[in-house]
């Protein structure tokens, strides 16, 4: 019943996320974060959201991880991080609690959340682009203005002082 591809992808996603938070070196952390993003993109493909998966790879791995790597190179490590002992136990606690949440939820509502039906014609790219441009065209324009504002704001913040 359980798809082996799903198990591998989910394990890569979760382990990548844990490594991103816990890795000593921030560069390794950024790489693990990229692996985790790739795993989420693969989960999107399993859910028949192929375009969203491509968008996720382009934006997250192409832009965000590269940006983070640049910042890590510029800034360098934090001096004197706290010792690991308490943090490791609380990480296990967080993972266990979230696993119990997920497994408990799936057991309690096994009939409420069946396997998704094959999407077919109702979620192909044409339908998606039609919805995006016809129903949400205004929001898309507003989003592009927000993007311009964010880029100008980031440039203004990070710009080196002249004097």
């Amino acid at each position: 019943m359980t798809d082996p591809a799903f198990v591998v992808i989910a394990a890569a996603t979760v382990i990548g996320a844990i490594m991103a938070v816990e890795a000593r070196d921030l560069v390794y952390g950024a790489a693990s974060l990229g692996i985790s993003f790739l795993g989420v993109a693969a989960l999107f493909i399993l859910l028949d959201a192929t375009y969203v998966a491509v968008f996720q790879i382009a934006v997250y791995i192409g832009a965000v991880v590269v940006l983070i790597l640049f910042t890590v190179m510029l800034v360098g490590p934090v001096k004197g991080e706290a010792p690991m002992e308490l943090k490791r136990t609380s990480l296990f606690a967080a993972v266990l609690v979230s696993m119990f949440l997920g497994i408990g939820g799936s057991l309690a509502n096994a009939n409420a959340f069946p396997g998704a039906d094959m999407c077919g014609a109702s979620c192909d790219l044409q339908k998606l682009s039609q919805t995006l441009l016809v129903n949400y065209g205004t929001q898309l324009e507003v989003l592009s203005f927000v993007l311009v504002a964010a880029v100008i704001g980031a440039l203004t913040l990070a710009k080196a002082e002249k004097d």
Partner: protein
Amino acid sequence: MEPLSSFFAVSAILLGIGVYGMTTKRSAIRIIFSVELVYNAANLNIIAFSRLRNPPLVTGQVLVLFSISLAAMEAAVGLAIIILAFRLNADIDLRKMTKLKG
């Protein structure tokens, strides 16, 4: 097809790891990592929930496209703020940034 609850479980685990990182880490860059993990958990949840209806709703995918763009902007502005803070303090330890404390 995998049952949708498995995707919800992965999303919950990502959310847990993200919240853990946000609450315990001191480096500002790690907190940006955690925020991105929480964003990904939310996006995965939205896509999975959009498959609940029959026929599935394509609006969920549109929402996630918007959300991914906003997450990218948030990362850009956040990293710019980190660079600025590093220039002012020569450190990005958030526990030491207490200049605004009265």
